[in-house]
Amino acid sequence: MKRVYVNEDWCLGCHLCEYHCSFANSGKSDMVKAFNGNTKTTPRIVIEEGDDINFAVQCRHCDEPLCVKGCIAGALTVTDGVITIDDTRCVGCYTCVLSCPFGCIVTDNEKVIKKCDLCISRTGEPACVKGCPNAAIVFEERG
């Protein structure tokens, strides 16, 4: 299955992936409208910044996903390897935040959690990959 991977050596820590992710999940067709302050934008990808190293982290879509196994509401499910959240079932208990070993479940004080769905509802590459200026984030099949 194709997943998103980051190359630490190439990641500039520019945060553009966060903006592209937020925009892709904003439901807006125009980037200006998405970021004009009237829409809640929450990236499902997190940039970690160090002294000389930066990298982006988002859902690994684990084969043995602890978030799915621990979900108290049956809201997290796996379809063709992609882990998605059912907003109508999530109660915001954050057991998935407790469980995810990569820290990839995002919360923003709204009722439901948010996470990367590999942009499955859209076509082509995930928005973070498409928008990375240095090709540090790739979407590929690995063993």
């Binding site: 084969d63 043995e64 509401a73 935040v97 995810c100």
Partner: protein
């Protein structure tokens, strides 16, 4: 192969999903003394509150049993396991045969003997869907609700009734709330938060005597109530196992594949003991994720698999009135605490390992700490300067990070 599961909650569902990963054809029979499609017990407070609908309280979709080819016998109580015949006897006298049996009988509320309790008409425990329905049936605007027990269940019950009534009093024998998951500082923060919402607490006290509508506490305080909810604790349902001669301590004793002392019988969930890697001791971990993991490995093992579950720890994610907290592991060790406006964090180290943590308010990425405890990653292998600041992948060495972020197997 003929699989039989006693129970229809989290561990049972984990077992069905485990079995069906390896065996898509054999018969699976589920016995439940309740009459509902599998539902999530921790959602009953959300249901009572009105946040979760009748349809969404169910733990799996309505077609779960048919999709997984399960024969479900609802409203059937198992009363005996006959190991020599390989069958389970039901209350109506009928027998259901098994080749592999899973005991997933869960736990039940503990209600101690209290004087006059039998005279109270509106008294409830709070674990089952029927409990929540019974409370809802009598709950009126401004009902006086008295909750005995300031643990997870008692406080979730308080949140559950809060939309209807703000007149809530919680009594606990302990001198602080949520003593099973929080330290003193954490308990104080959460108590204050609940008090700002109007919940009243009476701590270091207990109900000595009841009449219908009044509780007299040991201190002499008299409390009037319309509804009494008893949430003192839970006890494992181990009787079926012990009566048929299986090894039982506080909970049913199982190995790392959830097999009991009988090779044909497995047990999973609140009725069993788990090995807590944060303390190195066997204990009952009555937690939903633990029940699922145990159920799943039990199901896999019943179907011939070899996967084990060896990384259990106590862990909880819960919130009350918008204040979230995540806790895990053991607090015995050297603690680093950071308290800022609205947030509290405590990280506990011992023997060169991270053993436990408490995060209240800002709980972002807590699971990274959870994994460090479960995987027992030595503190010297972590970035010691970053460790207490916040959970992040930057804590790990580059090689471990590349392995983790490049790989996809996580396990259990």
């Amino acid at each position: 192969m003929n699989y039989l599961i006693i129970g229809n909650s989290t561990a049972a569902i984990g077992a069905v999903e485990g079995i069906r990963r390896l065996d898509t054809t054999s018969s699976i029979t589920i016995l439940s003394d309740e009459t509902y499609h599998t539902y999530s017990r921790p959602l009953i407070s959300y249901w009572l509150e009105g946040k979760v609908s009748d349809e969404k309280i169910f733990y799996r979709p309505q077609d779960f049993y048919s999709a997984n080819k399960c024969n479900v016998l609802l409203g059937k109580k198992a009363v005996k396991i006959d190991r020599s015949e390989g069958e389970v006897i039901l209350e109506d006298g009928s027998a259901v045969a098994y080749d592999k049996l899973l005991i997933a009988t869960g736990s039940r509320p503990f209600v101690p003997l209290m004087e006059g309790l039998d005279t109270v008409s509106n008294k409830f425990t709070f674990m089952k869907y029927d409990d929540a329905k019974a409370v809802k049936a009598v709950l009126k605007p401004d009902s006086k609700v008295l909750i005995i027990g300031a643990g997870l269940i008692g406080l979730k019950a308080a949140e559950g009734v809060y939309k209807m009534t703000k007149d809530i009093t919680v009594v606990d024998l302990a001198d602080r709330i949520l003593p099973s998951i929080l330290d003193n500082e954490g308990s104080n923060i959460v108590q204050k938060h609940l008090e700002t919402k109007g919940v009243r607490f009476i701590l270091s006290d207990k109900a000595a005597k009841f009449t219908d509508g009044t509780a007299i506490l040991e201190s002499g305080t008299a409390l009037d109530f319309d509804i009494l909810i008893i949430a003192i604790g839970v006890r494992p349902n181990t009787e079926l196992a012990s009566e048929c001669g299986l090894e039982v301590n506080k909970g049913i004793i199982v190995d790392s594949t959830c097999k009991t002392s009988d090779a044909s019988i497995y047990a999973a969930g609140d009725c069993t003991e788990s090995f807590d890697v944060s303390t190195g001791t066997e204990k009952i971990l009555a937690l939903l994720p633990n029940a699922y993991m145990q159920g799943e490995v039990a199901g896999l093992a019943m179907a011939g698999g070899t996967k084990t579950y060896e990384k259990a720890i106590p862990m909880n994610a819960i919130g009350f009135f918008g204040l979230h907290m995540i806790t895990a592991g053991s607090y015995d060790g050297d603690a680093t605490s950071i308290q800022t406006e609205g947030n509290y964090k405590k990280l506990v180290l011992k023997d060169g390992l991270v053993k436990g943590y408490i995060m209240i308010g800002d709980v972002a990425r807590a699971g990274i700490y959870t994994s460090i405890i479960k995987e027992q990653i030595p503190v010297p292998d972590l970035d010691s300067e970053l460790l207490a600041s916040k959970p992040q992948m930057m804590l790990f060495s580059k090689s471990r990070r590349l392995q983790n972020l490049g790989g996809v197997n996580v396990g259990n």
